[in-house]
Each structure stands twice: as structure tokens, then as C-alpha cells.
């Protein structure tokens, strides 16, 4: 029933009547039902989806449909969607309904995409395995004993298991790219400020981004074209021309590619290293200029990332206090107990860990040693990238040091868990875009992801190299 490779093909099938949109969404709904054990969705909007499909079908007939007509999209359950639940996979928001719609989601709807449901994720997007969810673990459809990655695990799985066409995730330190790599799909983290954060429940405001998961570079590019842009509701969104990402995919350019040595050092799985370097060799053979480069601040990225993101999180999550909305503990004798009990019972373990870390690094007496110093290091990390990008156009790295690990394998060892984001956090620290593209599987049949990084606002280059790899090398 999904015998199209990308949305362009789907739209042609819909327009020619060879594909019925209602059948198409029913097919997805059935897949969701059949693969319930994956636990990819927190909420599925069954009736609504069918209703929208009928309406969009009509628009297609009338030739009034938007760019994304009929694209079936799942959104991560940290994104606001008016009159729909918004839980962030947390007990503290379990019965919360959003009063408004996130800008990125609204832009999808305005182009006639169909929102099929809200996907499971790590609580408040904190995690790398989707094991920190009040809705339970999400399973990797490639191998159900493995984690799908996180925090946007449900979004990655919804695409990988063909439960929808495309999904939206959020990426604060790798939460799109890492699960994309683990599940074998495309996942793009845009430049900070490229896509409005309005309606994205903040984890770490100066790191958070919204981006697509897709089965093709074309669809990722198309969705980016729609959701990008300056938003009056987000002061940190940037006013900058939005290229026609999709149509510019036909361009061809042999970029200068950098291979940062720190991303191929100890700790990287051998099979992943070989797979990435095989692709690099192919590119060399095709005449791409490939250069070894260095990002010397790399060893500080994880520490810097956790100091700054937990600091911001401790403040961002203060609003969930049981006073005005969301979960309130039943037992308390005074205001302080109400806060204490509501937050103790409402938040999960990892969220509490990060709130405590963040509160600590911002405390008087520790601020200079941690927060202020980490801000300085963040600047140095950015400068590292500036320098490297003055020499090369794009960087190629592995997305993750390992393939999808086993469920439960790292859940008791936060440090090991944090290290699974070692190659992805730097892009968030520097505010640059990055993609993970599937380049094959290892000997255990688990997907391997290749990451491409570019300077800020140069997603177009990322897409161009990605589609070249997709069309000419991996297929």
C-alpha cells in the first residue's frame, strides 16, 4: 500500500487516482494497531485522520491542495497541538491538553499534511534510549530486543516501521539523529533558529530544535522547506531566506569534505568506523576532496553539554509544579509539600536527576565554576567549527559510537548512556545542522548511521551530499 518512495510519487499516485488517501491512512492505522508492541505512539487520532484524509482528497481533486497534501505525519509528544494531549511522556502532564498549536505543526497542517498521532519519547526529551517514558519503552522495529534510541524514539520508529510517512522529532543533543541511526531512517537536526521553537516544550532552550524523520532525503528536504522560517512568536528564530530544499536537490556539487579525527578515536565501534570510511573512500574515488581535520574541543562536549542543558532544564521545568495545571499530588499539608510531592511523584528518575544537576550548577558559589565556564567552552567549541568550516564545506562522522544497544543495557549507568550522544551534542552546542543517514547494517543486521554536519543555515549542502549518497552509493 505504500509503493511510493517519497511524497512526490505519493502525490502523483493520489492525483492520478491510483492511490486512495483514505485507504492509505487506514493502512497506516492498521500498521499501528498490528505493531502496538513497538509502543511508538502515545496517542493516535484515528477518526480525525480519516476525516482529514477525506477533506484532503477533495482538495487534491479540486487542485487546491498544499505542498504536503496527504503526507501522513506523526509528531513527537513534546509539541503543542491545540485541543490534543501534550504529555511529554511524563506523568506530570498525563491529562494535559494544549491550548494552542506549535508553529511547526501548524505549518504542516496549513500545507495539508495529516497528523496521525503523537509519538512516544523519553520524558521531556531527556534520554537516549526511550526507556524514560511514563508510557513505557519503545522497541526498535529492526530488532525488538534493542532500544530505538532517544529521545525521539517513537518518532523514529513510526517512520522505520511504516506507521506513517514522516514524523517530527526534536533534537537537543542528538535526539533526532541518534534514533534515526539506530532505526535506519533519515533524521535531520536543523540550524538553531531555522525552525520556530514556539510550541516545543522546552528542555534546553538554547539547544532545542525541531526536525523531520523520513524514509528519503527528498521528504526530509520537503518538510524542512515547509517548517523553516522566522516566527514572530519565537525571538530566537532567524529571518533568513529559505532555499527550495527539494528542487535544489537536482544540483550537483563536489563538496570539500572534512573527517574530524576526534570522531574516529577510541570508543568507536569497528564496524561503524569501516562502514563510514567505506563511504568516504567512495566519495574520494568520485573525485570529492577529503581532508583530515581536527576539532580539539571535542573531549569537552559532553561535560559542557550536560552542564548547560541541565541548567536550562532546571528552570524550564519549574513551571510543572502542580499549582496551575498538570498533575498535583493528593497528599500535602502546605505549599512546599504540594510542590515537593507533586514533583517527586510526577517526574521520572532521569528528569529529576537533570533538574538536580542543573539546580546545582546554577547555585550561588557554583555558577562561575560550572555554568559560566561551560558557556566559555561552548564558545570555544563554536570557534572550533568555524575554523574547520573555513577549510571544508561539510564534515562526515559516525552518528553514534555503537549500533542500537540492548534494552536495559545502559539504563543503570547514566554516564555510559550520556556517551552514546558523544558525536551529536557538538552540533547543538555550536547551533549547526546535522543529518543522520542510513548507510547499511552491521553483522548483527543493525542499522548504521552516517552523520553530515555543515555550517549554520547550510542545510542545502547537507541535503545535496545526502541524496548523492542515497542515490549513488547506498542503493
Amino acid at each position: 500500500m505504500t509503493f511510493y518512495k517519497n511524497h512526490k510519487e505519493k502525490l502523483e499516485l493520489l492525483q492520478s487516482g491510483k492511490l486512495n488517501l483514505v485507504d492509505n491512512v487506514n493502512h497506516f492505522l492498521k500498521n499501528i494497531e498490528d505493531q502496538k508492541d513497538l509502543n511508538a505512539f502515545n496517542f493516535v487520532f484515528e477518526e480525525e485522520t480519516i476525516k482529514s484524509a477525506k477533506a484532503v482528497e477533495q482538495k487534491i481533486k479540486n487542485n487546491t491542495a498544499g505542498k504536503l497534501a496527504g503526507m501522513v505525519i506523526a509528531i513527537k509528544d513534546v509539541l503543542a497541538y491545540k485541543d490534543h494531549p501534550l504529555t511529554c511522556s511524563s506523568n506530570i502532564l498525563k491529562n494535559f491538553t494544549s491550548l494552542y498549536t506549535a508553529t511547526a505543526v501548524q505549518k504542516l497542517i496549513d500545507e495539508d499534511a495529516i497528523i496521525i498521532g503523537k509519538t512516544n519519547c523519553d520524558e521531556f526529551a531527556m534520554g537516549s534510549s526511550n526507556e524514560n517514558s511514563a508510557f513505557g519503552n519503545v522497541l526498535n522495529p529492526v530488532n525488538k530486543t534493542r532500544v530505538p534510541g532517544g529521545s525521539s524514539g517513537g518518532s523514529a520508529v513510526s517512520v522505520a516501521a511504516n506507521l506513517c510517512d514522516v514524523s517530527l522529532g526534536t533534537d537537543t543533543g542528538g535526539s533526532i539523529r541518534q534514533p534515526a541511526a539506530f532505526c535506519g531512517v533519515y533524521g535531520l537536526k536543523p540550524t538553531y533558529g531555522r525552525v520556530s521553537r514556539y510550541g516545543l516544550t522546552a528542555f534546553a532552550s538554547s539547544f532545542d530544535t525541531i526536525g523531520p524523520f523520513a524514509k528519503s532525503v527528498e521528504d526530509a528536504a520537503l518538510v524542512m522547506e515547509v517548517i523553516s522560517g522566522k516566527d514572530e512568536n519565537d525571538s530566537t528564530s532567524v529571518k533568513k531566506e529559505i532555499p527550495n530544499y527539494l528542487s535544489s536537490l537536482s544540483k550537483s556539487k563536489k563538496f570539500k569534505i572534512g573527517i574530524p579525527k576526534e570522531y574516529f578515536a577510541e570508543g568507536l565501534d569497528e564496524e561503524i568506523r569501516d562502514a563510514i570510511l567505506d563511504i568516504v573512500d567512495e566519495l574520494k574515488l568520485e573525485g570529492y576532496e577529503v581532508k583530515d581535520v581536527s576539532l580539539p574541543m571535542t573531549e569537552y562536549t559532553i561535560a559542557t553539554y550536560y552542564i548547560l542543558t541541565t541548567a536550562e532544564a532546571s528552570s524550564n521545568l519549574a513551571r510543572f509544579d502542580g499549582a496551575r495545571y498538570g498533575f498535583r499530588a493528593a497528599d500535602y499539608k502546605n505549599l512546599n509539600e504540594m510542590y515537593l510531592n507533586s514533583r517527586t511523584q510526577g517526574f521520572g528518575k532521569e528528569v529529576k536527576r537533570r533538574i538536580m544537576l542543573g539546580t546545582y550548577v546554577l547555585s550561588s558559589g557554583y555558577y562561575d565554576a560550572y555554568y559560566r565556564k561551560a558557556q566559555k567552552v561552548r564558545r570555544l567549541i563554536k570557534e572550533d567549527f568555524d575554523k574547520v568550516f573555513s577549510e571544508v564545506d561539510l564534515l562526515i562522522t559516525p552518528t553514534t559510537p555503537t549500533v542500537a544497544f540492548k534494552i536495559g543495557e545502559k539504563s543503570d549507568d547514566p554516564l555510559q548512556m550520556y556517551l552514546s550522544d558523544i558525536y551529536t551534542t557538538s552540533a547543538n552546542l555550536a547551533g549547526i545542522p546535522g543529518i543522520s543517514i542510513p548507510i547499511g547494517k552491521n553483522s548483527e543486521n543493525l542499522p548504521i548511521g552516517l552523520q553530515i554536519l555543515s555550517p549554520q543555515f547550510e542545510e542545502e549542502k547537507i541535503f545535496l551530499l545526502s541524496i548523492h549518497i542515497q542515490n549513488e552509493i547506498t542503493k
Partner: protein, 477 residues
């Protein structure tokens, strides 16, 4: 106050800015609406919302900075002040901490005994107001978040203030300035202007500061003076008794006329300030600053000095007339009609303000226009009517702002300044009051007043009093 000691006082003043909408969302700032009706997901602190800065708040604060001789920082940043309270929906207040928008200014005060003095301003910054908690009689606490996100400007003084009088004058100047600028209504009783004081005492000549306390909850100008005096004396008494001052926050209780310590739980806060990642740095470049400064009016201090120098008004008159911009404007409109500056000042200060204060109205709602008051003063000046008649005319004008010249004409109130007419009236009075004439001639000077009274009675007050005096003296010889 014990003369061995001096007080060191710094004030933190919060002024609610008169913008139409809130500082970070488009909700109305209107006061008195249904509780929780001026709200949206942003000021309710719902998940995913983001603040967007209201430019008017920047403009108002820069105006205040310019009016108080501050340096306007090209770049300033917003910070989050983190603490939990039910009327603070986000769990933090967006304020400015490091890098405020205005710094290093001063305000001049003129104490009664002594020369004028500059009180330093450390900083002025922008922030959002919190909501209101209403502690019900029952165990419940109700929260109204209408006020959440109403823009505030905080003005922090240097510890340059030494007496409660200086504190009062400083605060009064702030009130005058914000009202002149039209950026805050300056009403302490309603909370649109709030003041906290940091107070310590030390022996005169000592350079080190003593241990300070902070007093909050002084919701009137008078309370500020009283609370400061109270705290200065309390600290001196403790020191004199050999005790130590404990650094703490006190709440002023106006009814009991004393301050009591806040519960330590309420003040033990580490606010964990850090730059707000949701807002970009505020950039006020020279171009914008120049644009803003164009709307800077003449300030109260300048106006006060000009009233004294240009109109030869006494200090007292100038002080009262410049208390509010609207009153000063009214006065200046009156003297655009008449050049009798002092008479105009007398009329505005005594007659006009009496009505304004009695009716509790603003000068802008005063029924008599400045033009008509000017005309009335001119009628006195040229001798058409006497001051006494003028008050009658004034009373009539109050009813419908009618033209004083018309009233005088219609009611036939023109002053009798015809010498022969007055002489013949006096002649008649002398003839019919021979006994009094004899008393006067016998040296009883007091009786002179009797004759004046008779003339006025005869002319229904219209006789020119100066002429009556002259002619009476002559004819009674």
C-alpha cells in the same frame, strides 16, 4: 535621632509601566478586569510558549534612564530569577541581572535645610510583574494572574540617602518624573509605584557600612518616611544597648506603626539567575536612542528652576505648580493669556487646587479652561473688577466655564472707578453717619473700616477699593 549616628539608605523602586499590552505577550494590562481574564498561554506559562519583548517597555525604560542622567547600555540582557510561588506561572521571573539597560545615573533632591544633593542611581532594569495571591479566609489561596507579565521598571539607588526626608524627596522626584514621562501613574497606594528600603546606621565619620536590613511593604509616601525613621531608631537603640543588628527582611505594618521580620523561609532564596535563552540581547543603538529621546519632555527639576527664574515665582509656588506636568501645563496656559505671573500662581494654587482637591479630580478635568482663568486675572489687573468680585465670577465660571468678560457684562459687575460717583456716595454716607464721623475724627482709626464697608454695601462691592480708600481719607479730613 541620636546625633552621634548617621543612616545609610538605598531605595529599590518598582514602577508599573503604562503600556497597553504586557511585556512578553499581547495580553491587555488593564487593571480591574475579571480575575484571570487578561491571560494567554504565554503569561500562563504553558508548555512550549516563548516570550516576545514589547518594544514599548524598552522605550519607556530608556526614557527614564535619560531623565535620570543614566548611561544607556547599547546591549543589555534578560535573565531568569528562579523561585517557586503559585502566582509565578513559569517558576521564574524574567528580569535583568548582569548587564541592565541603564546604569550610573542620579536624581537631585532639595532638602528643606541644606543645599541640593545628588542621589546616585545604580541601575534601572526591565522585568515582568508576578500575579496576585489572594489568601482566602478558608485554607485555600486564590491566584489571579492578570498582573503576570505587566511590565515593571526597577530603579535601584546608591546608598546615598541619609534621612527619611531625603528618601521622601527622592521618591517624590521619581514619581514626578515618571508622571511627566507618562510611563507610570505613580500611585503608591494602588501599587503602581512600590518601594523597598535598605537601611543601616553607623557612627558619623565612620566609612564602613553597618549591617543592613531591608524593609518592604511601605505602600504610601508617608509610610516610607515613618518606616525609615522607625528602623533607624530601632537600629541605633540596639547598638546603644550593645546588641548586634541582624541582617534580615522586615515587613512594615502601617497600622501598628512598626516593622516585623519576614519568616526566614520566605527570604532564604538562591535565585539562580542566568541569562534567559529565549530572548535575544536588547540592542539600543544610537539611532533608536535618539529617536526615543525626542519624546523626552521638560523634566520637573528644569521646569521648577525655569518657573523661578522666568516668572519670578517664590520657591514654594514653583514647587507646587511643577508637582505634576498637567498642573504646570495649566499654569503655563494661564500665563499665555496674562502676564501677571504671581496673581496667576495665587489663583491656581489657592482657588483652582482647592476645587481640584475637594472634588478629587485631575486638573485636566477642571471645568474652567486656562484661557478663561487668564481672562479673569486680566480683568482684575486692568481694574475692571476687584479681587472680591473676581471670586464671585470664578464661582459662576465653575458651573459652565463661561467667559468671565461676558459674566461681568451680563451681571453688571464692572467696578466703579468714577471718582465723582464714589464721592457722591461717600458724601451721602458721611451725612447719615455723623456719630461715626466724630469718633473717627476723635482718633478712632478703626471706624475707617466701617465707612469702607458702607461704601461697598452701597455699591454691592463694585467700588474700586483703592479709590474708595483714597477718597474716604480725603473727605473725612
Amino acid at each position: 535621632m541620636n546625633p552621634k549616628y548617621e543612616a545609610v539608605i538605598g531605595l529599590e523602586v518598582h514602577a508599573q509601566l503604562l503600556t497597553e499590552s504586557k511585556i512578553f505577550c499581547s495580553c491587555s494590562t488593564k487593571f480591574g478586569n475579571e480575575p484571570n481574564s487578561n491571560t494567554c498561554p504565554v503569561c500562563l506559562g504553558h508548555p512550549g510558549v516563548l516570550p516576545v519583548l514589547n518594544k514599548k517597555v524598552v522605550e519607556f525604560t530608556v526614557l527614564m534612564g535619560l531623565a535620570t542622567n543614566c548611561k544607556i547600555n547599547q546591549q543589555s540582557i534578560f535573565a531568569r530569577k528562579n523561585y517557586f510561588y503559585p502566582d509565578l506561572p513559569k517558576g521564574y521571573q524574567i528580569s535583568q541581572y548582569e548587564e541592565p539597560i541603564c546604569e550610573h545615573g542620579f536624581i537631585e533632591v532639595n532638602p528643606k535645610n541644606g543645599s541640593s544633593k545628588k542621589i546616585g542611581i545604580t541601575r534601572i532594569h526591565m522585568e515582568e510583574d508576578a500575579g496576585k495571591s489572594i489568601h482566602d479566609q478558608s485554607s485555600a489561596t486564590l491566584v489571579d494572574v492578570n498582573r503576570c507579565g505587566v511590565p515593571l521598571m526597577e530603579i535601584v539607588s546608591e546608598p546615598d540617602i541619609r534621612t527619611s526626608e531625603e528618601a521622601y524627596l527622592y521618591l517624590n522626584n521619581i514619581k514626578k518624573i515618571v508622571q511627566y514621562l507618562g510611563i507610570c501613574d505613580g500611585n503608591m497606594e494602588e501599587g503602581s509605584l512600590r518601594c523597598d528600603a535598605n537601611i543601616s546606621v553607623r557612627l558619623k565619620g565612620e566609612n564602613k557600612f553597618g549591617v543592613k536590613t531591608e524593609i518592604k511593604n511601605m505602600n504610601s509616601f508617608r509610610n516610607v518616611e515613618r518606616a525609615i525613621d522607625y528602623e533607624i531608631n530601632r537600629q541605633i537603640d540596639l547598638i546603644e544597648e550593645g546588641e548586634v543588628i541582624v541582617q534580615q527582611t522586615l515587613l512594615w505594618d502601617a497600622d501598628a506603626n512598626e516593622a516585623y521580620p519576614m519568616r526566614s523561609k520566605e527570604e532564604a532564596n538562591d535565585y539562580r539567575y542566568f541569562p534567559d535563552p529565549d530572548l535575544l540581547p536588547v540592542i539600543v543603538d544610537d539611532e533608536w536612542k535618539t529617536e526615543i529621546s525626542k519624546s523626552l519632555p521638560e523634566l520637573p527639576e528644569t521646569k521648577y528652576k525655569r518657573f523661578i527664574s522666568d516668572f519670578s515665582l517664590p520657591v514654594y509656588d514653583a514647587e507646587i505648580l511643577t508637582q505634576t506636568k498637567s498642573l504646570a501645563d495649566y499654569y503655563e496656559s494661564v500665563i499665555s493669556i496674562t502676564d501677571d505671573y504671581k496673581t496667576a500662581s495665587n489663583w491656581v494654587i489657592s482657588e483652582v487646587l482647592a476645587v481640584v482637591n475637594e472634588k478629587k479630580i485631575d486638573i485636566s478635568d477642571f471645568p474652567i479652561t486656562a484661557v478663561n482663568l487668564g481672562k479673569l486675572i486680566n480683568l482684575i489687573k486692568v481694574g475692571t473688577i476687584s479681587g472680591k468680585i473676581a471670586k464671585e465670577v470664578f464661582a459662576l465660571m465653575l458651573q459652565d466655564n463661561s467667559d468671565p468678560e461676558q459674566i461681568v457684562k451680563d451681571k453688571n459687575l464692572v467696578q466703579i472707578s468714577d471718582t465723582s460717583e464714589i464721592e457722591s456716595i461717600i458724601q451721602k454716607i458721611i451725612e447719615s453717619n455723623q456719630a461715626q464721623v466724630q469718633e473717627y475724627l476723635g482718633g478712632k482709626e478703626k471706624v475707617f473700616g466701617f465707612f469702607v464697608g458702607q461704601v461697598m454695601k452701597e455699591t454691592r462691592g463694585k467700588a474700586n477699593p483703592k479709590l474708595v480708600n483714597e477718597i474716604l481719607r480725603k473727605m473725612l479730613r
